[in-house]
Each structure stands twice: as C-alpha cells, then as structure tokens.
C-alpha cells in the first residue's frame, strides 16, 4: 500500500523507451556507418577515392561490424556485462584507421611536439580513469594507446592546417583538462560530498560539449567556405572529444555523446569526400 502502481500500458511504454535509449544510438551509428560505407564504395567505383577516403572506408567497415555485434549482444544478453570481446578490437582498428586517414590527409609539415605531448597526457588521463572505473588493465591500456595515436594525428593535422589559433588551442586544452579533472575529483573527495559526486558527470560533459559544439559549427562554416582541410580537422576534433565524452559518462550523457559522434562521422565524410589531390587511381 502507498506505492505507485503503474498501469501495464505505461510499463510497456517505458520499456520501449528504455530499449530505444539503450539500442537507439547503436542502431543510428550502424546506419551511419553502413550508409557512409556504401557512399565511399560508390565514390571509389567512380574513380574519386583518395587514400584517406579508402582508409576511412575500412574504418567504417570495422565500425559497422562492431555495432552489429553490440546490437546482437544487447538483444541476446541484455543486462549482462560484456567481457573482453572481438568488437573491442574493431574499436582499436577504427582508431588506428582514422588516425592513418588523417595522416594520409595531412602529410607532416611542422613539428607539433607540444600538442602531441598534451594529447599523450590527455589520453593517459582518460586511460587512468577507465582503469579506475572498470579495473580492466590490459584492454584499457591498449585502447588508450590506439586513442593516443588517433589524438596525436589530430594534433598534427590541426597544427599543419593551422586550423586552431592560440585562443582555440587554449580553449581546447581547458575543455580537456576540466573534463578529466571533474571526473577525477570524485576519486579524491570523500563520499559525503554527495552534491559534487552527482554533479561531476554533468560538469565534465558540459566542459567537453562546449568545445564540441564550437568545433561542429566551425567545421560546417569552413566546409561551406570551401576550406576542407580545416573543416576536416574541426570535424575530427569534435569526433574525438565526443568519443572521450562517451567513454567518460553514462546514462543520458553517454547517449547524447554517442548520437553526436555518429553525426560527426558524417561531417568527417563530407569534409573528406571528393577532395582533390593525392588521388591514387
């Protein structure tokens, strides 16, 4: 007595919403990767596939299979924690292939040592957080190494194209530092700081999403003004930040970053597609 009894139809409705929230982003990501893969195959068959587009296509193939695996796992073993599985290797491959696509798009011109060191510190901090949450050392360290390769290539690309000015570099660094700090503080503050423990995830997400949004708008603006190189860099920065946000958060924040990540994959393709120069065919 005294408890709220939910009518059956509402229970079903909430069940459906729950399933949509759980599987929806993965299905969206699957559809995006499938569509992009088909688009790139069409581009290649029309003779407009450059080296970076092909590497990107291979990455999309990995993303597609990883998403299929996730969906099947979610349906067959819903609620069970997934141990180390093959789809994680697909994620590693995706990072490496995207990194390789970036390095094919922007052959190294200037030294970006400072930016790469910062990328290494950020990737290490992320890895440390994953290990602290999951306790899975080996797979988190390997994922961290692949992320590091990806981030270093983004830093190199951003430096080469001069996409980011001093202020933007400072803002990006601040967003990264704040997001990691807000999450890391949870481990050092006592459990009695309940308000902070609840707020750490929104604060961390907010600091990342601010720069993600800026990068997205900038990528679109540059794309329409015809500067595809810089546009690609901003699209990749938004993609990578969303990825880090996804791995750092849970619940609705995770879903938000996941959906944004799928959108930025399209932005990357749009900035890569049919770009002139370095056509290998």
């Amino acid at each position: 007595m005294g408890s709220i009894i939910m009518p059956d139809k509402y229970e079903t409705l909430f069940g459906i919403i729950g399933v949509i929230i759980e599987i929806g982003p993965v299905v969206l990501s699957l559809l995006v990767s499938l569509c992009l893969l088909l688009c790139i195959i069409r581009d290649i068959s029309h003779g407009s596939g450059s080296r970076k587009t092909i590497l990107f296509a291979f990455g999309m193939a990995c993303m597609l299979l990883s998403n299929i695996y996730w969906i099947i796992y979610d349906i067959l073993r819903s609620g069970q924690r997934m141990p180390f599985a093959a789809n994680e290797i697909s994620e590693w491959a995706l990072f490496l292939l995207l990194g390789a696509a970036l390095s094919a798009a922007f052959p190294k011109k200037d030294s970006a040592l400072v930016q790469k060191i910062f990328a290494a510190v950020f990737a290490t901090a992320n890895t440390a957080l994953w290990i602290a949450w999951s306790g899975e050392w080996i797979q988190d360290v390997v994922t961290g190494l692949c992320l590091l390769y990806f981030l270093c290539n983004i830093a190199q690309g951003a430096k080469d194209t001069k996409a980011l000015g001093r202020i933007q570099w400072a803002a990006l660094s601040a967003a990264c530092v704040l997001s990691v700090t807000f999450q890391a503080l949870c481990f050092f503050l006592p459990e009695s700081y309940t308000v902070y423990n609840v707020m750490s995830e929104p604060l961390s997400s907010l600091s990342l999403s601010a720069f993600v949004l800026y990068s997205f708008v900038k990528a679109l603006k540059l794309r329409f003004s015809g500067d595809r190189g810089k546009s690609s860099c901003y699209a990749f920065i938004a993609y990578a930040l969303c990825l880090c946000g996804m791995y750092m958060t849970s619940g609705l924040f995770y879903v938000g970053f996941y959906i944004a990540n799928s959108v930025f994959t399209i932005t990357i393709y749009r900035s890569f597609a049919k770009e002139g120069g370095h056509d290998i065919r």
Partner: protein
C-alpha cells in the same frame, strides 16, 4: 577426452606424403591445408590455457575468446605469406581458402569424434555452418588484403582492421549460435549467406581486374 594430436598426425601423414608427388598450386594448397590444421590445434591449446587462466568458463571462452584466438592464429600464416612472397591475388585467395578449409576440417573431425556422428542433420548443420564460416572469415581477410594492396594502402592499421573484421564476424556467429532458437538458426545461415555474397564480390573483382 580426445587425443587431438593423434588425430592430427593420422590426417597429416598422408597429406604430407602427397606433397612429394604434387607440384605448383596443388602442392601449395595441400601445404596451406596442413598449416590450417596445425593452427587449429595451436588455437585449441591457447583457448584452453586462457580458459584455465582467466576462469571465464568454457561457454564464455568459446563465445568471447575463441574467435579472437582462432582468427589471430589463422591470420599469422596468411600474413607471413603475404609479406614474404607478395603473391598474386588468386594465389593469396587459394592459400587463404586452404588454411580455412584445413582449420575447419580438423575442428570438425575433433568435434565429431568427441560428440558422435550418429545424427546426420546435426553433422550437416555443423559442416555447413562452422566449416563455411572458417573459410569465409579467412577469405574475406585475403580479399581485404588484396584490395588494400591494389589501392596501395596496405599498412599496420589495415592489418589490424582486417584482423578485427574476421574476429568480429566469427564472434557474431558464435554469439548467435550460443543464443539458441531463432538466433541459432540465423547464426547457422550467416556463413552460407556471407559465402554467397563474397563469391559474387570476388567474381566482380576478378572481372574488373581482367578489364
């Protein structure tokens, strides 16, 4: 309990002997077939070791770990052959098919000896699903390498990508089959369907090459 090493010896000796009398592509095929069987035995050892070391349980090991180990072991000889001898597309495809067929044959032999072959429909399902799956996964790997080589993008990320592709395909099959019911039926049909798609794609790729 079966003695897998003894079974391997029994099957391998006549095949090794046949290597003395055949030449060219056939010799290469038989050699790769033998390699596939050896690789299957090694992966069984490694999966068994991981099962014991991690305490995952035999069911979870076969669903999550075996695809990774088996595909990695199948990739090794193919990658060695690709990097050392830089073979033509058709030769690479033959080698890949032979490694996959050898792997599947030895696995099926061991499985049938351990659980019996009295149920024909079960044996047929096993042959049509696992047997084809091992060939499809390594053949797709060879196709991936071939396309990458032709487009001049063969590099470390591409190799990891190819490996992840075959591992995830294998893992999806294992996950579906372990689910039982409808998912198992989908799982059993998946390799056959993929084999048909791959065969069509391979044919189109060859036609494009000729042109």
């Amino acid at each position: 309990m079966i003695y897998a090493e003894n079974i391997l010896l029994c099957i391998a000796i006549p095949l090794c002997c046949s290597l003395l009398f055949v030449r060219g592509d056939v010799r290469r095929f038989v050699g790769a077939f033998l390699l596939g069987m050896g690789v299957c035995l090694l992966s069984a050892y490694i999966s068994g070791f991981i099962n014991m070391a991690t305490g995952l349980g035999s069911s979870d090991t076969s669903v999550f770990i075996s695809p990774i180990v088996e595909e990695l072991m199948k990739l090794m000889p193919l990658l060695f052959f690709l990097l050392m001898f830089e073979p033509e597309s058709s030769v690479l495809a033959n080698i890949a098919t032979a490694i996959g067929a050898g792997f599947a044959t030895f696995e099926n032999c061991c499985y049938i000896l351990s659980s019996g072959a009295d149920n024909l429909s079960y044996v047929m399902i096993r042959g049509m699903s696992v047997g084809i799956m091992h060939i499809v996964s390594i053949f797709s790997l060879a196709m991936w390498f071939d396309i990458a080589k032709r487009l001049k993008v063969l590099s470390f990320p591409i190799i990891i990508g190819a490996m992840s592709l075959s591992m995830t395909f294998h893992a999806i099959y294992n996950l579906l089959v372990c689910g039982g019911g409808t998912s198992a039926i989908i799982g059993y049909l998946l390799p056959l369907f993929t084999a048909i798609v791959l065969a069509i794609l391979y044919k189109r790729l060859q036609e494009k090459l000729v042109r």
